[in-house]
């Protein structure tokens, strides 16, 4: 297939905006003041995870000096957003209303949110971003996956710039591990470096990501785990421009659950010789993206890795611009 909308070199995209909406320590349930952040009206019935995302998106675009996206520019903006649990709480509310009161118990204002994508696609609607809009839900990795998917789409000519991100909100209490739920949103804006420089916006750095599937069965098999994992890891590192030295010398931040997949990956990453910090992941895919945002802000060259027991693994390579 030929490309569609032109040919922006995906490797030339830099992060020009970062927006985070994350709870303060010991936050109350309603810690995000959406009226102040988003506006006094129009958001009352918008679910929390969408409000977070809209808030992070607004901050990221403002950070990129793109608070108002020109109509023409919106046409070639691709949006890729991830979430594992954005809909859980509201779906619990809808479901209990149906169970207890029947259809009459459902609010027409919340009924459209049966559609999980809608929690995410509001961001493109809010800012007139018409290139494409993807709602990704791959367990644990959907945030980093938004980077990989978005950049692949740019490389194939589907857009020239990107709004990427992730949002989570606490799980419905009926779901296991609800008490350790992730909560918040992170959004990144990626644009061609030349465009960022022309506008005088901040050039945080470059980010790229590559995922793979590590069989949970293989990861749990002592005879296969190491070799299998190291081979897949080497392939992903090569795809990220690290074919020979691998992750050697790069700090690695692994955000993962307690699973054979995560353990096998930690061992393989550890064998690379760099510094490895492993953080326990709560349910969701927010944690790795907060690490990406932090590294870009701090100017730390590193690898951020997300992995989960269902086998999905994604690596993100962060290369900050010297500032």
């Amino acid at each position: 297939m030929a490309t569609t909308t032109g040919h922006t070199d995906a490797t030339e995209l830099v992060v020009s905006g970062i927006g985070e909406v994350l709870p303060p320590a010991d936050a109350e349930r309603e810690w995000f003041d959406y009226r102040t952040e988003l506006g006094p009206s129009g958001y009352k019935y918008v679910p929390r995870s969408s409000r977070y995302l809209l808030g992070a998106g607004k901050r990221a675009l403002a950070d990129a000096a793109l608070a108002e996206v020109p109509e023409q520019r919106g046409l070639d903006c691709g949006v890729a957003l991830g979430s594992n649990n954005c809909a859980s709480d509201l779906h619990g509310v809808i479901d209990r209303a149906v169970l207890e009161k029947g259809l009459g118990g459902l609010r027409p204002t919340t009924a459209p949110y049966f559609s999980v994508n809608l929690f995410l696609s509001k961001l493109a609607i809010e800012h007139g971003l018409k290139g494409f809009s993807l709602a990704l839900h791959t367990p644990r990795v959907a945030g980093l996956e938004s980077i990989e998917t978005g950049l692949r789409a740019v490389a194939l000519g589907r857009a020239s710039w990107l709004v990427l991100g992730v949002t989570e909100e606490p799980l419905d209490p009926v779901e296991p591990e609800a008490a350790s739920s992730e909560d918040g949103a992170v959004v990144l804006v990626l644009e061609p470096a030349e465009r960022v420089r022309e506008r005088g916006a901040t050039e945080y750095g470059r980010v790229a990501a590559r995922g793979f599937f590590l069989s949970p069965t293989a990861a749990a098999d002592p005879a296969r785990a190491a070799g299998h994992t190291e081979r897949l890891l080497a392939g992903a590192l090569a795809a990220l421009g690290l074919p020979d030295q691998g992750a050697a010398g790069l700090p690695v931040r692994l955000v993962a659950d307690a699973s054979p997949v995560a353990d096998a990956l930690a061992a393989a990453l550890g064998a690379q010789g760099g510094r490895l910090d492993r953080t326990h992941a709560g349910p969701g895919c927010l944690g790795p993206m907060t690490e990406v945002a932090r590294a870009l802000r701090d100017g730390e060259e590193c690898l951020v890795v997300a992995a989960g027991g269902s086998g999905q693994v994604t690596l993100a390579r962060i290369r900050p611009t010297a500032r």
Binding site: M1, T4, S121, I125, S133, S215
Partner: protein
């Protein structure tokens, strides 16, 4: 850049399991009757109707995989994927490193959590991600390149196919198992009803008196691969996926932009990607959900792309027969398109006895042999996700015997 071929298809719907049953039902214009969804409780039936997959078609087992409980949606997806994989000659458990999986669903295995809430099942230990279908399939087929899950609502299945094709185009995989699934969910069913988006007379696309869509269950899968891979494996191409166009309305959460401009742009982008022109399109499988605005908008978009000849392009209105299968619908349309190309025939449409004058379309009610062999499918969704895919038939010598 590599060409992408379809080497396997699988389908599951109210017609039963398998593409043969799917094709027969389309050819015979056999519409299944919606049945009450008992799970919503007696006070809500018989209004809550759904064209359900018949009992026994979705396998009852396995109930667990990868340490996770396996919901009905994932079991249905496994069934559709197994048919597609078998046709393509993919063997479960065989080494398949450069294989990937992309699967879409509006709500995936939400039914599982709904059972927990209703107290009819007990929650398991540990977090259960709602979208585990792709991982389950990746484990089963030895895929290592990716195992991605997405929603994108009613456009999801078509997006999963296009994203899989992009992975191959980018050189990141050789083979992709992709598709979509949607099974009964109380949250979806109740919400659709509350929105007044369901026509009590069933899904009637382009009918003057249409009042909404009709909900249905379904799953569809395809095996896509590079032409080189198919050749090397000796897999027979059934069709080519020659282009896809993606856009977003960015207009309204649930209503399409009535101008149809972004829908038309998706169609044009698909044509551009394929290096084809509108006059080369043999037939279109429209999104056509039976909702008032959506059908009119799609017709407006078709006119923008096909010009004055739009009403001369034969359409096949699948949802009139099948109902709206949500995240599976785009993938089921894709399977229908490939079957039509294989058989060299567009199935007959259900007659629309009172065509909306604002919907100037041609819906042949007899089997039609289209001019050429390039079929477009459209899929649109809440949230403004638009996508068009173009499938092209292959020479008989390349295709199945």
């Amino acid at each position: 850049m590599t060409g992408i071929v379809v080497t396997g298809t699988g389908a599951l719907s109210s017609f039963g399991g398998g593409t043969a049953a799917f094709w027969d039902a389309m050819r015979e214009r056999r519409r299944t009757a919606p049945t009450p969804a008992e799970e919503l409780g007696p006070e809500l039936t018989p209004l809550t109707l759904c064209q359900m997959v018949p009992d026994g078609v979705v396998p009852d087992q396995p109930r667990r995989a990868l340490g996770l409980p396996l919901g009905r949606a994932t079991r249905a997806a496994r069934q559709a994927a197994a048919e597609a994989a078998a046709q393509a000659g993919l063997v479960p458990g065989a080494p398949a490193g450069r294989t990937a999986v992309f699967f879409a669903s509006g709500v995936s295995d939400a039914q599982q959590v709904e059972e927990w809430r209703a107290g009819t099942a007990t929650p398991t230990e540990g977090w259960v991600p709602g979208y585990a279908t792709a991982a389950v399939l990746a484990e089963e087929y030895g895929a290592q390149a990716a195992a991605g899950s997405l929603s994108n609502a009613c456009a999801g299945g078509a997006y999963a196919l296009a994203m899989g094709a992009d992975l191959i185009r980018a050189g990141d995989a050789d083979v992709v198992i992709a598709g979509g699934v949607e099974m009964y969910s109380r949250v979806t069913m109740g919400s659709f009803q509350r929105l007044g988006a369901v026509d009590p007379d069933g899904c009637r696309p382009f009918h003057r008196l249409r009042r909404g869509t009709g909900q249905a269950e379904g799953a569809a899968a395809m095996v896509l691969e590079s032409e080189e891979s198919a050749r090397a494996r000796g897999a027979r191409p059934l069709a080519r996926l020659v282009g896809s166009g993606w856009t977003c309305d960015a207009h309204h959460p649930t209503a399409p932009d009535p101008s149809g401009v972004q829908i038309a742009r998706a169609m044009r982008l698909a044509l551009e990607a394929a290096g084809r022109t509108a006059d080369q399109v043999s037939a279109v499988l429209p999104h056509a959900t039976g909702t008032q605005l959506s059908d009119v908008t799609e017709c407006a978009a078709l006119r923008q792309v096909f010009g004055p000849d739009a009403a001369k392009v034969p359409l096949y209105s699948l949802k009139a027969l099948l109902g709206h299968t949500g995240g599976a619908s785009g993938a089921l349309s894709a399977v229908a398109a490939v079957l039509a190309l294989e058989h060299g025939q567009l199935p007959p449409n259900l007659p629309v006895d009172d065509l909306d004058p604002e919907c100037e379309v041609w819906l042949p009610t007899e089997p039609t042999t289209p001019r050429g062999r390039l079929v477009m499918i459209n899929a649109f969704a809440f949230g403004g996700h638009n996508i068009s895919l173009l499938f092209e038939g292959v020479e008989q010598a390349e295709g199945r015997d």
